[in-house]
């Protein structure tokens, strides 16, 4: 866990410094210059911070689904705590991705909200996971709540890759990688459009955010466990 903590601190600090301080240049000559992409300009730096939040959302929701599976197999209450902890973190990162995306959209596409396929799909994801927490709080019985929400987390988890990776690529839209995008390819991966130094920094940022997620998951899970211990102790008394 120590490596996770220090790793996330070091990596994210590095990405913040390099991502903000490295100047743009119309024709970059060295690793210490980012390309000045027309239309994006300084806003290109957003990619180091906005995309990792969306990526962490996906990771967290899939982890929630994984622990949902494990709970249904073993009926171990601790796995339910893990599943809900991850879903909560995913929800938080999902909100961050939506808001940071909206701010960026205002200055690149002219309006905070455009119902671009990706904006639509993240909105649906927020609704799906909002319903997950509503379902949890509406179920009194502990075991029934764990069973229902594990099943829900599994079904919801299956929709995540569809909404994040498939649907936005099948439809025409404003995000890079949408159908009919002249640069082709998905966002960053196949396109080969991203400069080498930006790509390295981008993957560093993804890793840093993933480690931060693991750290936050650990903290939140420990709170959930203490809470669980105290409540079950009270109900014994």
């Amino acid at each position: 866990m120590t490596y996770v903590k220090y790793g996330s601190i070091v990596l994210i600090t590095f990405v913040l410094i390099a991502g903000i301080a490295i100047p743009l240049s119309p024709s970059p000559q060295s690793w210490l210059e980012f390309p000045d992409i027309p239309g994006l300009e300084e806003k290109a730096r957003n990619i180091f911070f906005h995309v990792p939040t969306a990526w962490t959302t996906v990771l967290a929701f899939l982890v929630s689904m994984y622990f949902g599976f494990r709970y249904l197999k073993t009926k171990n209450q601790d796995l339910d705590l893990k599943s809900v902890t991850s879903a909560g973190l995913g929800f938080m990162f999902c909100i961050l991705a939506t808001i940071t995306g909206a701010v960026w959209a205002k200055f690149n596409w002219g309006s905070y909200w455009n119902w671009d396929p990706r904006q639509t799909s993240i909105f649906i994801l927020l609704l799906i996971y909002g319903a997950y927490f509503a379902l949890r709080s509406a179920t009194e019985n502990e075991e029934k709540r764990a069973r229902l929400s594990a099943a829900y987390a599994i079904v919801a988890g299956f929709t995540v890759p569809f909404f994040i990776f498939i649907m936005p690529r099948m439809m025409t839209g404003l995000h890079p990688g949408a159908q009919g995008d002249s640069s082709g390819g998905g966002p960053l991966f196949e396109s080969g459009m991203m400069a080498g130094n930006m790509r390295v920094l981008f993957y560093t940022s993804l890793l840093g955010f993933n480690l931060l997620y693991v750290w936050l998951f650990d903290l939140r899970l420990r709170v959930a466990r203490m809470d669980y211990q105290l409540t079950s102790r009270q109900s014994e008394v």
Binding site: K5, I9, I12, T13, L16, I17, I20, A21, P23, W215, L216, L219, R222, V223, M226, Q229, L230, R233
Partner: protein, 46 residues
């Protein structure tokens, strides 16, 4: 230093972002320690 910063304003933004990040990290580290302590207290009681 001050003149450099007023000519390269991106670094002012950078220093502020880093201060915020440092604050958040310090908070998380302290929270982590506090929780380890609480967990130990809980164990002792049980």
């Amino acid at each position: 230093m001050l003149e450099f910063l007023s000519n390269n304003q991106m670094y002012i933004v950078l220093s502020i972002v880093l201060l915020v990040w440092a604050g958040v990290v310090a908070y998380l580290v302290r929270l982590d320690r506090k929780m380890t302590q609480l967990e130990q207290n809980l164990k002792k009681e049980a």
